[in-house]
Symmetry: C2
Subunit: 361 residues, 2 copies
């Protein structure tokens, strides 16, 4: 015996068949006499035997591996905060259950190539992170029979995909409601990436609630962004050169809100005293930026955790019916949004930009 010890080596040393060794090492000792079990266990230990998971996967026809797939559109982890949180949740669920994680970041959008990569027999299922409109990941059904769960994109039903996402609609609605309650009527909006369903959902919720309150939407206050902080900044630039300004601007995510606020600082426009700004996501990094951003907090970790749970459930039960799960968000009121009427009453030109950590309501 040279190289890594195999089951055969263990069996030989314990003086038994390979079957016996296999059974005992899989925890079926009760089938055998006490001393047989001991002999095998000892032999394995002495040899430093570790089952070869590739061979095991082939024989069992399951790999105990889940793929986590990032959409080619945002395959750079570095800039994808959302993916970190979700991935942590996925890992937290899968790791203790002895599932392995294969991280796949396709560099192409050719669906055949993408799926050849993903479903090549080495995984039992996949979690798709925030597939965007037109993504080859969504062509799943044509290329794979594996169970799949999408997170971070609430897709139209026809995709027949299990999904876990936050409730963008309800969360944005509560943000808009609250802002209106604060007395704001002149409300601007910075939209998210046009290929993200979440962007459309957030915008739609905004428009709906505005309509419900009979507040007209000024299209010149509806700015296009792409969820990146740069577009938040340019939205600010674009907005602030207008004659009439909204009293508050809702950004479709925190990054854009940060960009927006920083541009305001550059232009020496105090937030929230001259203009209020709200974000969406309550992102880890935004929180430590010293900007007390009013935003919507939601549990991305939980999204990953649940997605993994659903996937494993589908694997174990074979129940392939698409499930959908929406996780509610929570409004976090900090200090980047001021009362509209108070502002009107007591304008304070010397107020400084707030830079302290926010306290939650």
């Amino acid at each position: 015996m040279r190289g890594k010890p195999t089951l055969r080596d263990v069996a030989e040393r314990a003086g038994c068949s390979i079957t016996t060794a296999s059974n005992i090492l899989q925890g079926r000792s009760h089938l055998y006499r006490e001393d047989m079990a001991q002999r095998v266990l000892n032999a394995a230990h002495e040899l430093g035997y570790r089952a070869n998971s590739v061979a095991r996967s082939l024989a069992r026809r399951r790999t105990a591996t889940i793929a986590v797939v990032l959409d080619p559109q945002h395959a750079r982890l570095t800039h994808n905060v959302y993916a970190h949180d979700v991935l942590d949740g996925v890992l937290a669920y899968l790791e203790p259950r002895d599932y392995d994680i294969r991280l796949i970041t396709p560099r192409t959008n050719d669906p055949a190539a993408v799926w050849r990569r993903i479903d090549n027999g080495s995984i039992d299922g996949a979690i798709l992170i925030a597939p965007v409109m037109g993504s080859s990941l969504l062509e799943w059904r044509h290329y794979s029979t594996l169970p799949v769960v999408a997170v971070g994109s609430t897709l139209p039903d026809e995709y027949l995909l299990s999904q876990v996402d936050i409730d963008n609609d309800a969360a944005m609605a509560s943000m808009v409601e609250w802002v209106i309650q604060q007395g704001h009527r002149a409300i601007g909006f910075v939209k998210g990436h046009p290929l993200h369903w979440s962007a459309h959902q957030r915008e739609r919720a905004f428009r709906r609630v505005m309509a419900q309150h009979g507040i007209p939407i000024r299209e010149e206050w509806m700015l296009q962004g792409d969820y990146g902080s740069e577009t938040g900044a340019s939205a600010a630039a674009q907005l602030l050169r207008q004659d009439e300004l909204p009293s508050v601007v809702l950004c479709a995510n925190d990054e854009m809100a940060i960009g927006f606020i920083q541009k305001c600082r550059d232009l020496e426009i105090p937030v929230p005293d001259a203009i209020s700004v709200a974000g969406f996501d309550d992102s880890y990094w935004a929180r430590r930026m010293g900007i007390a951003l009013t935003t919507v907090q939601h549990d991305r970790y939980q999204v990953g955790y649940l997605a993994a749970q659903i996937l494993l459930h589908q694997l174990e039960t074979g129940d392939a019916r698409p499930q959908r799960m929406l996780i509610p968000g929570a409004l976090v009121v900090r200090r980047s949004v001021a009362l509209a009427n108070v502002l009107a009453a007591v304008p304070d030109p010397h107020a400084t930009i707030l830079t302290e950590g926010g306290s939650r309501l």
Copy 2:
């Protein structure tokens, strides 16, 4: 034939042996007659055949999979900015070369368990991300014969590990040199996590350069941190209640510098007018915080990319000699560090905290 098509199905349909099909599908068409090759290719295409990578791995005795292992100490991706950058570099190198990535975040520090998980026959090699002192990852040699590369920790030679890291020593030295050039003599330091080699290297470089310039080190200005922004803040609190203050504080990373600066803002101590602060890492998130932080920029993406390259080289050549590769950093001068003498001459109690994006020298 039911279930996924196998090589056997392809061979049957093409009317040839399995070997022939295998060879042709692996690109060895030149061994066969033109029409044979076509028949096989067509058959495979018509059936939608995709080679099962598990079976292939078993037969080839290589898996074309690399593990990326996070130290149990900082296994939460969310808070590990360093890992994102490195991972992106690793992915960028490996993905086009058809290597897969297995992400492993052990939840225990028991070396046997950790390595059972990592080296179970499913990978060809591993990249260890920033193993800390005492990490079970470092016990590699006792548990595995796989090629391994460590990144983010410049380890003592006795670990016999291939390594890619930034040159902490030189980079911190140049930071200290520069600060001294700016006229600073009263210099404080916030140390990094005591279990990280990088923290010690950065501190050691600091002390050395100070000694070279004959500047005494005041131990009460040497604060312990852990690379987290909270400890930067508490270091600031602790320092600022002292009677005598340094004119500049060097933080062992950006996160602590951010925490430090934010605490200064809270206490209404203007940076850099009352006290200068420098960081280390030039992190993506710090850059967009609107703090023009003077820091050391270094290419973490490159670290990951090179680590993957070295690993693949070792796999292909079988050359297992440990390699070490240090990547230089570059000083990035922004505005959080002021000239010491100018300060002394023109103290300005009303100066505000700077919040604009920094311009690089």
